[in-house]
Subunit: 388 residues, 2 copies
Amino acid sequence: MSKVFVIAQGGGPTAVINQTVAGAALAARERFPGSKILGARHGVRGVAGDDYVDLTGLSETDLMRFANTPNSGLGSTRDKPDDAYCKRVLDGLDRAGASAFIYIGGNDTSGTLAVLDAAAGDHIHFIHAPKTIDNDLVENDHTPGFMSAALFVANAFLSVDLDFRAMRGVYIGIVMGRHAGFLTAAAAAWRRDDSDGPHLIYVPEVPFTETQLMEDIRKTVDRHGRCVVAMSEGVQTADHKPLAESLIPAHLHERDDHGNLQLSGGDLGLALQVAIKEDLPGVRARVDTFGYLPRGFLGTVSETDRQESFAIGRFAVENSEAGSGSVAQQFVDGRVTLKMVPLDAVAAKTKTMPADFLTPAGNHLTETGLAYFHRLLPPRPDAWTPFV
Amino acid sequence: MSKVFVIAQGGGPTAVINQTVAGAALAARERFPGSKILGARHGVRGVAGDDYVDLTGLSETDLMRFANTPNSGLGSTRDKPDDAYCKRVLDGLDRAGASAFIYIGGNDTSGTLAVLDAAAGDHIHFIHAPKTIDNDLVENDHTPGFMSAALFVANAFLSVDLDFRAMRGVYIGIVMGRHAGFLTAAAAAWRRDDSDGPHLIYVPEVPFTETQLMEDIRKTVDRHGRCVVAMSEGVQTADHKPLAESLIPAHLHERDDHGNLQLSGGDLGLALQVAIKEDLPGVRARVDTFGYLPRGFLGTVSETDRQESFAIGRFAVENSEAGSGSVAQQFVDGRVTLKMVPLDAVAAKTKTMPADFLTPAGNHLTETGLAYFHRLLPPRPDAWTPFV
């Protein structure tokens, strides 16, 4: 029976999110010949406004070029539909004659689908296809988009550490991550021993104090003559408030529809740079804000990430007849396996780093943590240890 | 006749600076068999302190692995020798029995060599081998290290522009560059038309006002629904002072031995982010500081840059018998050519972007400017134009 598939993208883009669109579109053509395949522009906003790209007849060549383009090529949104908005989305899906709505996104996207699913009849199935560079979805071993962003971060810290061997000082790279420190911790994936940077990692899972940071940096400089630090922009003080929040003037606070404060590594970075200069006068100290660079960078897209994201789109379509649900990428018996789980098993939940990934002090990876990143990333490039 | 070559690296690292060391070392072995090849640690500091890595017997495999390692693997320095320091360096060279001192660096490095050359006898030749991601050396068409850094910047802006097509807003990426805007302008190398970002570039060559920036951004947002900006951290106000200087509290000003103020994109970035939020309330606005990321990033090393940097090391050794001088990489009759020029032709001078690279408003590349970057960089990756 021919069907109508509506596909959309929500939340922050990744380097491989279009692979999932392509995987879903190609599977729909193969499994359900004669189906119509509509890509909604800007997520649920496009569905509510009948704003579609017709992917039905797009050549496979063009679809694969689209797949290899980083960042959400259908457009994205952070809209969180209320009851009235939900009605407009459901009406839109009915006008399109949708049999399945495949929405690619993180836990906010899964939450939106759970709400839509509860309000709709049984004639439409709602399928959540995971993606997020934050790697923070429960039920998933790792999420599409994470590997590529992690590869950028690992490359960046390997390079910066070589830079700070050449001319010594203190470097802090601030990496995206609101609640989960996976992306920041990926900075340490290619360390070989204590002398390699990053020498310290600070993640949202561990309460942060500036006093401790300064003490850690001083000790590292004493020992290695330099200190390279990877820090999540979402590091939190003991009261569970983002450190950045206390540094941003209140009248500039900006929240999205999901209530998330828009963090900016810049504010955090500047405050840290001033603190280091005052605490360690005369020491070369630099803070860079990676910001959006890791999430869609063309130069470091992981081939495995590409393939997995494509496979998830295919799996979403292949399992769309059985009912609504979320595609989960799990790791069972030494291999990556896909399965469907209920939408609300993923919605509005956040996976943080397991406690055994971090040492008791919270600023280094354990062997268990390292092993996880080694499994996901390619081996450290064959760089000669420099002579300094 | 066997000789002693002393090789050192000065100033900021690049992704390919070790290629020049390897090229020089291999040429010395081939052309002057039995020669001793010493790599000084941390530039002139290592020479003054007899701190050397003996490269004479290093296997070609290890030397090429070292060549492919980004950032100054011998260590670097920003020391600017005064008379007493010069004497210590010259004494060090004499102790080592040096017949030639090959110093890889920018115009400050060339200046140091000119001073040493004037103070030394004729028994040592001083050869400057160029490198700088700033691309600001006179007598050179482009400098080793620039292509790789430019490739990072072009990739970053292509990716970020796709990101801001997906979710609209204003993005400013702040790129290193104190006096010359080449690296910032490389952001526009892969633009195809007006709708592609970066929509605006701001470089130190053109007087900057925040009022003009805000007007330019508003116009671009009105026209394209988004605005992606590439800005040099060294942008200057009409009085030729770096904008960042007025934003950094005076007591935190930090200058190196060459009198250069240590700029930090972070201060500039934060000020701009606040300004945009106040001027365009409700608009998604993000500022990222690229900082050190472009200069040694492993994921975007240019193959041509590798080869040219290696060739420059080789040329430096091959021409070391004729006297002191600076290797210049020129573009003659459609091809890159190396020649020796006097040290003080390069020392303490800065090449900025030619006036015909920029439109009269100063915030776009002309066809002439674009052609230059097209000649240096690989073609734009085959990315599908997204559907938004």
